[in-house]
Symmetry: C5
Subunit: 371 residues, 5 copies
């Protein structure tokens, strides 16, 4: 069984060395060796390449100063590469630390006209947990540099759009490319949210069909996932809002509407996640109410059975008493249980007990306990 | 059974293609073929027409530049039409995407002196759910362009007012027409809220009369609807507030009071929805308390019956014992259950047991368990 | 039984016609025919009159331009009168709509130097509900115009003060008169709050003395009333705050302290209502805990009785068995229940059962179940 | 039994006459006759006197214009004195109303360079309630005037400091004296909070030792006291914050750090009170859980006893049946209860029932019900 | 058993003397005698010394005006030393009071270009409690002065970095040193949080394995610790935010990014603590649900056993009745319990009772009560 994300996170924090110098690049053992990609394009040009080494990438990069370039570094296991990136792209050590630590909430920083943006790519896993990977993005006059810890990401539709030359992306500036990346990343929140919603409905169905003991635990775990994604989306929204408040130098006027659009999407995601919060709260309430209802049902069965048979048992016990018709001296005690000697005593009693049962059943029926 | 709105929404999200270029117009298969309406009017003029095709509509539109026009497009299943609208009315691709996606929270965007407004038209359905349809609205110097996905809407009272020339609507600017549309849309929230309130009272009556197992589920579903409409009304209010903060160029000074009026209505709706939130919370509490009370009642019946009969059963069991008056060797054991041989043994015991019953009933009466 | 306010409100909303032109004056059938009052005063002058018709009122009004006038219209069932008021006192149609609809949350609007203020007069009814009536107020250079739907209001102490010439009210401006009205209206919230508080204490006493099944329902209803008055007081406070932020032209500097004073009162009311919110929450918790405690008590009685008698019943059942001392062939089975033939068998058993009872009672005493 | 503070407060409100002219001085019957104190000091001078009448106080006051004076009026039962104070110290009637009404939340008002400050002195009473008395304070160029309803207050340590000439207080301005009063008043919140905290721990101990029925009621009462003190401390903090935002004319720059210091204390008190809120919530949860646990324990005893003896009772009942070995006609029924005639029938059955008991006890032990 | 932190805190408050002059230095009896450390460095220089007395420290300090110095005073038990520090480093009495009282929430104060910063160093103790020690920090042109009550702190990694000359710390200004201290202090929150998280998971495991009665108490205690650390981290964040809003004179532009970095960490800590809050809430819910589930299980066992055996007991009781086949006069009552004389009466009854048991078990199986 894999550790829960909380456990994993706890482990990561414990491994982290405290008191390091600021900007210390703590390359994790289990991080991947870097792969270097670059997509270069302008209106006419389109080249998508993976490079063997950083030098060849840089050579290609500087040889086409008029084109836009999307440099994409995946995997951090090469401290030297990271330091060369910092040098060549004027990345501050603290920013590179944020990139490599791989657990930074979404944010944007501006430095002159350049932006440093961190986004989180979200998926809803098979284990019903929100998994979020970090993508770090630096903009420059004619490039966007992205860094991620995994080889796989959610950006292939965008790569395909650049290749196909669809839309105006090939003709637009590097900041538009940055926007396009943020847009695709945020777009992928929707299917994750939809899967989470489907899982919530699965749990709701369970609740009414065969509620297991683990169900509450699962509902509360889901609640925590909802809270978790909420804590990712809010800073995502704040980040885009901060971009919208930047001035012309960072965000040209005609691109503003694009960021406004992803802002709308972020707000819609917040609405959605609040919806799920309400849903999981409802599920908790329903679960607890179901527990009470089941106890109620158990109690009713017990009460019906007991209430019917306890008086009957008394009656049969009554006629099981050994009061003697005769005293030891042979004298007759006519008052001692004469019923026992009546020819119709037994059948009368059976009939009486039948009436008692009918009366009680009617009483329970009137109380509505029999449905 | 139709899927719940949440399920429907989840389905929509899953169908949505992620990573599309911004402004991609995703015309849904199940969307309706567009119908084109235009109402043209000024102080004297009044014409209300449906057009066969877009060209004839545009011809009519440009031929009366001095009049105001309300162009009303219903149904989106024609990509080419949408693109011509974008071109002729300078609509940004991202705005048209918002229109067609049909799930955008209420908002306003200004672009020069033009406004782009999205509202949601709300109804409370037979299935006790909030159904909300989107109406998108663009203003221009002498026109208002509205787009909606359905053929039916809630604006007929307004159309009738224009036709009848009631009020000053025929003499006022296009921004006043936009206001009038927003006003009528918001007016329709009130009956929806009233129906929701009536349903809440139905559920409350159920609670006291015959609470079914499904009741809590229904209450919690209603709670979710209340939360849902809350999330629609708040941005509605924010939208109007944003309009109120616009300057003279967008909202002339003498129209400000009209928008202030619908702002008041939006705030009143928020009060109302908070009222319903409180009501549904109360219902949940009452339901859970009812469950406890019913269990209490069951327990009391069980306890009364058991407490009365268990001691009696002991007593009759006592006198059902077979302690022998004679030892096997014929010697007498006078201490072995002499009661059994007493001439009044049986009736004394019956009387004693009667007293026990009376005592217990009195005890329960004093405890207040008998009412 | 009168409908609950929520029901009444729902009904009102359903009756309201949606889609009306803005400023449509919807005179309710059941509204009262207007009565026209005017109090005219300055340092020396004091006249308080009811007028037969609007013309005579206006004649009196214009004949004393140097005095201050409080024109008080009660009852709205005269559309023509309302329209003449709009004309003579420059009231916007939307404002008159707010007046007549009679369900507008407290607010203030400024129009030049004139104020339009809506307040709500609150009482706590016999049915333990917050009843709030609207008073609408327009200020002018030498007059205050108030409109209310009922003939009765809470302003008589103020009328008496003007008549008696107490305080400086006769010497002050019309805006001071407006303040005085707002002050008296807000003063009346305190006794309403006190009655609500007394009712809360009544319910609390019930809780400990004879909690009925309806009690939780009553507590939750009270909670809703508390929430309702909270939603009235907050905008009341906001309204006064807005007045305080107006400039010299609307609120002369020396009057500012008076509005600050009623602001303090509004804040004090908010403190009070939050206090009651906490109280009603406590009551809910106490009620639910009482239900649990009662169930606990029932369970304890059941358990004590059962635990004492069930083992005893077993014992007497044991000696009610018919194991035979003799085999059918007459052979003796000395091991079959020899106790039954022992001369002290019965009394020994009675003694033993007495010990069992004492032991159990002691056990329950130690558990603390007997107090 | 003294009425609870809420009851007292409700009574006060009901007694208050509504609709009075603003600034009406409602001297309560039960208020104390005023006592007049003045401490006069500068670097050298120190005089602390109680005056017989207001004239002698004023004579002393005006005779030392170069010194600082702390005039301290305790008890309000003299309307004429109050009016003379208003005249001599330019106190607005509304401010004097706030003083005398004795129930004003903490606030500060500035009027030119003068401050009017209301603070509340808090104690935690023997009855476990927050008792708060009002102290009203006016600053002037060379004096501070305080008014309180009681003869006793918490300011003696400050009086002693002035007498002893400790610190720089004798050399500083009247605004510093005002600060020193506020500081001592706020300092006294800490022991009140500590006592409240000790009481909370007492209740927690009760919870685990001998939880009475009244305990929840006490916990919820404490919760309300916590909420009450919270509503006193927050405006206290806001008041100091407002003072900090005043400009040089009111608060000289070198005194700002002193007010910042009491601001820190107010924030610390807020932290503390939030801590207690959390504590009382925990207590409520623990109480309710204890109730459930006790019910669980009762149920377990019942279930263990019943589960052990009910089957045994069946068995002994079985062998109490009277199936006859002989038919009436003397024919033998060998299948009718031959066990009863077996020489080891009884002991075998006793052994079997012993095994059943052992098995069940083991089962309960495994379930963990026996600890 | 050591007192709980809350108890300790309550005790501290009670000991604190109220009404002291502002800036009164209340040296606690149990505070440690001061030890004096100084680290002096610049690009080349590195000296780390402990001084016997304050004079030798000051001599060393003034002899190297071109270097940066970190003066570190640990232990406060020397009033004279504290007063000399105030004099030599221009520390206000109120600031020194904050230092020595040792219970000040995180804050920053600026005084000219100098900063006074209070941070709290957090650990999670063996007793599962948040322990926080205060570190107070004053910056000057070429020094940082820190004061702490204990000899041990969490700053050794930083001291080692200065010694090793790692990073640029030796070349940077004193404000950078202040940053570095804050950074290391905040870094240590992460392992404390991780330990808290591990403890939360321990409790969760307990919940599912062997929930003790104390468990809820432990969960609620943990909840309180989470609330406590939350109240430490929020002002920590606010403090850093306030530093970020200072101008160039306090925080040079190139250092701003460093403070931004620790701001990010503070926000991440807030996310983390909110995560734990959600977790502890889940644990409470799970605990309470487990209590209900256990009660349910108890009830089911009771109900199954009772429901099976109570009817059987009735049946065997029925055939234990003594209805007589013969009347006293010898006449035969053929209807009185003829079953008893039937040759297969007993075995038939045993079979019938077996069927009843099978039927009931099947019923319980269908209800799902047997798993
Ligand atoms: Mg760092
Ligand atoms: Mg990853
Ligand atoms: Mg991954
Ligand atoms: Mg998108
Ligand atoms: Mg879990
Ligand atoms: Mg959009
Ligand atoms: Mg898109
Ligand atoms: Mg639709
Ligand atoms: Mg529709
Ligand atoms: Mg309207
Ligand atoms: Mg549902
Ligand atoms: Mg209106
Ligand atoms: Mg009315
Ligand atoms: Mg009325
Ligand atoms: Mg008032
Ligand atoms: Mg009701
Ligand atoms: Mg006042
Ligand atoms: Mg709850
Ligand atoms: Mg008043
Ligand atoms: Mg008092
Ligand atoms: Mg007192
Ligand atoms: Mg202080
Ligand atoms: Mg009470
Ligand atoms: Mg301080
Ligand atoms: Mg102090
Ligand atoms: Mg310490
Ligand atoms: Mg320590
Ligand atoms: Mg750090
Ligand atoms: Mg504890
Ligand atoms: Mg960082
Ligand atoms: Mg039973």
């Amino acid at each position: 069984m894999t550790p829960s994300p909380t456990k994993q996170f706890t482990k990561n924090i414990l491994e982290r060395k405290v008191g390091q110098k600021p900007g210390f690049l703590n390359v994790h053992e289990h991080s991947l060796p870097p792969r270097l990609f670059m997509v270069s394009f302008d209106g006419d040009l389109y080249e998508s390449r993976e490079f063997e080494n950083y030098d060849s990438l840089m050579a290609a990069f500087v040889s086409q100063p008029q084109a836009r370039h999307w440099i994409d570094v995946r995997g951090y296991q090469n401290l030297e590469l990271m330091e060369r990136l910092m040098l060549d792209f004027q990345i501050h050590a603290l920013q590179m630390e944020d990139v490599i630590n791989d657990y930074q909430r979404p944010k944007v920083e501006e430095d002159g006209n350049r932006l440093f943006i961190i986004s989180r790519m979200v998926t809803f896993t098979e284990e019903h947990e929100i998994d979020d990977d970090q993508i770090s993005l630096f903009t420059g006059p004619n490039y966007v540099l992205t860094l991620q810890s995994d080889y796989e990401d959610c950006l292939n539709p965008l790569r395909e759009r650049i290749r196909a030359g669809k839309g105006s992306i090939r003709k637009k500036s590097s900041i538009y490319l940055a926007y396009a990346i943020l847009d695709v990343v945020l777009d992928h929140y929707f299917p994750a949210m939809a899967q989470l919603g489907e899982y919530a409905e699965e749990l709701e169905d369970c609740l009414f069909e065969n509620p297991s003991k683990k169900l509450l635990s699962q509902i509360l775990d889901l609640k925590r996932e909802v809270v978790k994604i909420r804590r990712i989306i809010w800073p995502e929204r704040d980040k885009i809002n901060e971009i919208l408040r930047m001035d012309e130098a960072q965000i040209p006027h005609d691109l503003r509407i694009y960021f406004k659009d992803i802002y709308d999407h972020a707000v819609q995601l917040i609405d959605l996640v609040d919806n799920y919060r309400e849903t999981t709260s409802s599920l908790t309430d329903l679960y607890l109410s179901n527990v009470s209802n089941r106890m109620n049902e158990v109690m009713k069965v017990l009460t019906i059975i007991s209430t019917i048979f306890i008086p009957l048992s008394f009656i049969v016990g009554l006629y099981g008493m050994n009061f003697s018709r005769e005293q030891p001296d042979g004298e007759i005690n006519p008052l001692n249980m004469p019923e026992l000697y009546h020819p119709y005593g037994y059948v009368t009693l059976l009939g009486f007990m039948g009436l008692v049962v009918v009366g009680m059943v009617y009483y329970f029926y009137r109380k509505g306990w029999l449905n």
